[in-house]
């Protein structure tokens, strides 16, 4: 958005002065329909976006489809790009949206309940299985490839609706409002679902990460 907070028709077509000069030049070329600019956009931003799609939809084929859909959607939306964020941020939102659509249209099986992965309590409200700290901090744990694989596999085991919220908030780093908008949920529902997803993920990781004596 322009500093004055209003837009004219010209402003809707001309890259804002706030964008870095290389992005302004690229955007202007894209809006002129310059074929080389489209290729530059795909090559320069596509790798990172492809990584987003692969971790989100998990299958290589779906990731390719999601990336292609995202770029085509971006090409169609160039005139509406308001330049109130970096090109990379704008494209990231589009590819995430494309991945969500892919997940929605994919044939879905009924979700498993998350209850078994959540903490259990006695009738008096105490934890049924006392918690213990883990032997190492996250930073140290993540030095191990095995632990990184373990965490990714555990995230993949979450029911899809919980996995999606966790991916959007913790991995893609979208804020609560944006996540709520993309998933058509209230912000409060996003917070609760994220909390339950983290609890379930913790439950999946705990047996492998707590000290042996505490099992």
């Amino acid at each position: 958005m322009s500093p004055e907070g209003r837009r004219s028709d010209d402003a809707a077509r001309t890259p804002a002065p706030g964008l870095p000069s290389d992005e302004r030049a690229l955007l202007a070329a894209l809006r002129r329909g310059d074929e080389e600019a489209f290729e530059t956009l795909v090559r320069e931003y596509g790798g990172r976006l492809f990584a987003v799609a692969r971790r989100f939809v998990r299958s290589e084929e779906d990731a390719r489809d999601a990336l292609q859909d995202a770029f085509l959607s971006a090409f169609r939306s160039l005139a509406r790009f308001e330049e109130n964020c970096r090109l990379s941020t704008w494209l990231h939102r589009i590819v995430v949206n494309s991945c969500l659509m892919k997940l929605r249209t994919r044939r879905r099986k009924a979700e498993d309940s998350i209850e078994d992965l959540l903490p259990r309590f006695h009738e008096d409200g105490h934890q049924a299985v006392p918690s213990a700290g883990w032997e190492k901090s996250a930073d140290v744990l993540l030095e191990s490839r095995e632990v990184r694989d373990l965490v990714r596999a555990a995230i993949d085991r979450l029911p899809e609706s919980y996995r999606t919220v966790l991916m959007l908030r913790d991995i893609e780093e979208l804020d609560t409002a944006e996540t709520a908008r993309l998933l058509d949920l209230t912000e409060n529902a996003v917070k609760i679902r994220l909390h339950r997803a983290r609890q379930a993920l913790r439950g999946l990781l705990d047996p492998s990460l707590r000290p042996a004596a505490a099992c």
Binding site: E35, F38, E39, V42, R43, G46, G47, R48, F50, A51, R54, R55, R64, L67, Q68, F71, L72, F75, R76, P119, F121, D124, G125, H126, Q127, P130, S131, A132, G133, W134, S137, A138, D139, L141, L142, R145, V147, R148, V151, R152, I155, L166, D170, I171, E173, K191, I192, L194, H195, R198, Q199, L201, R202, L205, D206, L209, R210
Partner: protein, 86 residues
Amino acid sequence: MEDRPYITCRELIEFLYLYLGGELPSERVAEFDRHLNVCPSCVAYIETYKETAALGRQAFQDLEQPVGTAVPEELVSAILSVRRKT
């Protein structure tokens, strides 16, 4: 005042996201702190809950480098080809 019942582990864990997000009123925060002063299990739960969030955030980072460098050539061609046709 000392006779007030403690909140339970269930209450603390159920509303933990509000506590950690700084979204509870101060009197409610005091109730959570009071419970944590006497419950090492909930202290450990919070610690590992935070570690979980950190692990989730960072577990994909090593995938970004090799994958993030380039889009497969045939995919670049496919995207540009579809664009020309539309």
